[in-house]
């Protein structure tokens, strides 16, 4: 090709400049298409990131073990145990499964918290000193309780942010004495704020106490029992192995025969994470493909206008051919025009889509994610559309006979 690309580009831009309104309207199709793709994919990815954030916030690679349905089913199984899950089970897991990083029994309670003339009703979680590690939850002020506190069932409490704020307006809670269910407790720490859970629950409306204290002091159990166990695997990759080994160990310890159902339930957060990631990915794909359809509609608009343009400019094409434009050069010129249209539209679309995504996510409080990848993909898409829908009109222009084209009225 003799004619250089800069000259071709200049001719294309000049041609588009000659009919500004039409060019702008044609571009609008691509602008809306690309803008929609960018906005939709960004919003989708933002939602995905938010879900991921919350899952990570619950504790890295965390797993919950709950007594099974059998316990509530009415059918008597085992020797009348109040719970199918015991402290010993938890200890055995830590001892025998190497992929477990930390584990803790969970005993739940609730009650009235009183400080001075303030009071607040909150959930109480009984756990051991591994709680911050398993839940990936830092202590903002003060400190967490130790294994000594657990062993001696000390009346110490680490407050969630909400509880701390409700009881201590403007006072440092650490070191203060409060009453929980009328029993005096010393506040030794305040947890960092965590915000809402996936189901919209305030995770900070809680307090953590040694589980032994809950068993002996708050619930005053005759035979200490635990409600759940929580544990974390050493890594996300190891959680599948951990889950399998936990199941095997507990079946063995609970003497469950092959073919019998488990009397416990292992819920891995990676399962939850994967499930919700799947849902949000599906949503992203769905939104993205709806947007992609509008991009295709924009492409059809380009083809339409290019066809009109070729017909309108038949004579011009004839002139260009007469003065020495090869059919290939004409083809390239019209292809360049549709490419300029789609790429310029794409650029404006990226800006508009990005702005839209930022606005939407700000309103919904989601993290914005206008990823370089989605920008790249929609540009590639716009280019492909420019070439695909520009090819036929360009081909039609190149196939014109110069004599007929020159005579065209």
């Amino acid at each position: 090709m003799k004619m250089n690309l800069v000259a071709i580009l200049r001719v294309a831009v000049r041609a588009l400049n000659r009919n500004k309104l039409r060019t702008a309207l044609t571009m609008l199709g691509i602008i809306i298409g690309v803008g929609a793709v960018i906005a939709m994919v960004s919003i989708g990815q933002g939602a995905q990131a938010m879900v991921q954030d919350q899952i990570n916030g619950m504790g890295s690679n965390m797993m919950m073990i709950m007594p099974g349905n059998i316990f509530f089913g009415g059918a008597s199984l085992g020797a009348g145990a109040a719970s199918t899950l015991t402290e010993e089970d938890v200890q055995a897991m830590v001892r025998e499964i190497p992929t477990i990083a930390a584990a803790s029994p969970v005993v739940r309670a609730s009650g009235q918290f009183v400080f001075g003339n303030q009071n607040w009703f909150a959930q109480i979680q009984g756990a051991n000193e591994k709680f911050p590690l398993i839940r990936n939850w830092k202590v903002e002020r003060g400190e967490f309780f130790t294994d000594l506190d657990v062993r001696s069932a000390d009346r110490v409490v680490v407050l969630g942010k909400t509880v701390a704020d409700k009881l201590f307006a403007g006072i440092d809670p650490v070191g203060q004495m409060i009453r929980i269910r009328n029993l005096p407790f010393r506040v030794i720490g305040v947890l960092a704020p965590k915000g809402q859970s996936m189901v919209g629950q305030d995770q900070d409306d809680t307090a953590v106490v040694p589980y032994t204290t809950v068993q002996k002091k708050l619930l005053a159990q005759q035979i200490p029992s635990i409600h759940q166990a929580m544990l974390s695997s050493v890594s996300a990759q190891a959680s599948a192995v951990t889950e399998k080994q936990v199941t095997e160990l507990l079946r063995q310890r609970h003497k469950i025969q092959p073919g019998q159902t488990d009397d416990f339930l292992v819920r891995s957060l990676t399962d939850v994470a994967q499930a919700s990631a799947q849902v949000t990915t599906l949503m992203t794909i769905l939104l993205g493909s709806i947007a992609a359809i509008s991009l295709i509609v924009g492409g059809i608009g380009i083809m339409n206008i290019m066809l009109v343009s070729v017909t309108e400019r038949t004579r011009e094409i004839g002139i260009r051919m007469a003065v020495g434009a090869r059919p290939n050069t004409i083809r390239l010129q019209f292809l360049t025009e549709s490419l300029v249209l789609s790429l310029a539209g794409g650029a404006v679309g990226v800006v508009i889509g990005g702005t839209l995504a930022t606005l939407v996510s700000r309103v919904l409080g989601w993290p914005t994610l206008v990823s370089a990848l989605s920008v790249l993909i929609s540009f590639a898409f716009a280019t492909a559309i420019g070439i695909f829908f520009g090819y036929y009109p360009a081909h039609k222009a190149a196939a014109l006979d110069p004599i007929d084209a020159l005579r065209y009225e």
């Binding site: 250089n4 000259a7 011009e316 002139i319 051919m321 007469a322 020159l406």
Partner: protein, 315 residues
């Protein structure tokens, strides 16, 4: 095939360029400024009329069109030679085959049978891209309806052939300006075609035909849309180019008046050459122009050198 042809074209032009160094050439060249022509830096492709080496040689050209089931025999074995430096008028009633002839000579169409040698090369079977290159290098077109690209300035219109020749932007601009000056419209380079009068548009078209320094100017009814005075002005430019730069000019026309500015007239009828004769004491457009009454409005000082006053011309 194309590259071979292009090479042979280059070779022939190089050969003619070297003719400039022969003693007869400088006198022609030095005569140019006196006649108000800027040298342009464009060396005429050929200064000498070479016997036996015609610029155009047609050998029993036939052209048959198929219109549905009907065969139209537009050319029935035309043989013809045109040499460098000739000013030829092709005449004939409509349907005589003169337009077909022009399309074939202009490399816009292939003959059905026969051979066409342009600058010594057989171009009758060259493909579309190759023909485009030949048109770009060797032929300048002027049409009845001017055929300027609309909403594109005069200068940009003139640049077109240079763009397709792959000439860099700076040189394009320089050569386009020079060509515009040569047709006396140096001050209208930014004007759009619809801001120019018919005569001015045709002169821009002429500049475009000239700019790539072709061996042949092919004009199809160049005065068909112009009034008498403007027609003579355009013919004056043709004559000037033909005489001063030894440019070969072929004009297709049905007006005997216009044909008599040429040195040779070829008359077509029913797809054959009916008459082919030299014009004895042909008209000189410059002289005719002097005798024509000047127009009060839209006054154009044509025949004058480049850069003459054109500011008065308005739409």
């Amino acid at each position: 095939m194309n590259t071979q042809l292009a090479q042979s074209l280059n070779r022939s032009s190089a050969k003619h360029d070297s003719d400039l160094t022969t003693p007869s050439a400088p006198s022609l060249r030095s005569a140019q400024p006196l006649l108000g022509l800027r040298p342009l830096g464009l060396a005429p492709r050929a200064l000498l009329c070479e016997e036996g080496n015609a610029l155009i040689r047609l050998d029993r050209i036939h052209k048959v069109y198929h219109m549905g089931d009907v065969e139209v025999h537009a050319l029935r074995g035309v043989s013809l030679e045109i040499h460098r430096g000739e000013f030829v008028a092709i005449m004939g009633p409509s349907g005589s085959g003169k337009s077909t002839m022009m399309n074939i000579i202009g490399c816009l169409d292939h003959p059905t049978k026969g051979h066409y040698f342009l600058e010594g090369s057989d171009v009758s079977q060259v493909d579309k891209a190759g023909l485009a290159d030949i048109r770009n290098k060797s032929i300048g077109f002027v049409f009845q309806s001017f055929n300027l690209v609309p909403r594109t300035s005069a200068l940009e219109n003139i640049e077109l052939p240079l763009i397709y020749a792959g000439i860099p932007a700076g040189e394009r601009m320089r050569r386009a300006r020079a060509a515009l000056g040569e047709v006396g419209l140096a001050d209208r380079e930014r004007s759009m075609p619809n801001q120019l009068s018919g005569g001015q548009q045709q002169r821009v078209a002429l500049a475009r035909a000239l700019v790539n320094n072709p061996s042949l100017i092919l004009a199809d009814e160049p005065t068909g849309s112009l009034d008498t005075r403007t027609s003579v002005e355009v013919m004056e430019i043709f004559q000037r180019l033909n005489r001063n730069r030894n440019l070969t000019v072929i004009v297709v026309t049905h007006e005997p008046d216009i044909a008599h500015y040429a040195n040779r007239i070829i008359q077509f009828r029913d797809g054959r050459i009916r008459r082919d004769f030299s014009v004895e004491n042909g008209k000189d457009a410059g002289e005719v122009l002097m005798e024509l009454p000047r127009e009060t409005e839209d006054e154009e000082e044509s025949g004058g050198p480049a850069g003459s006053k054109e500011a008065g011309a308005k739409e």
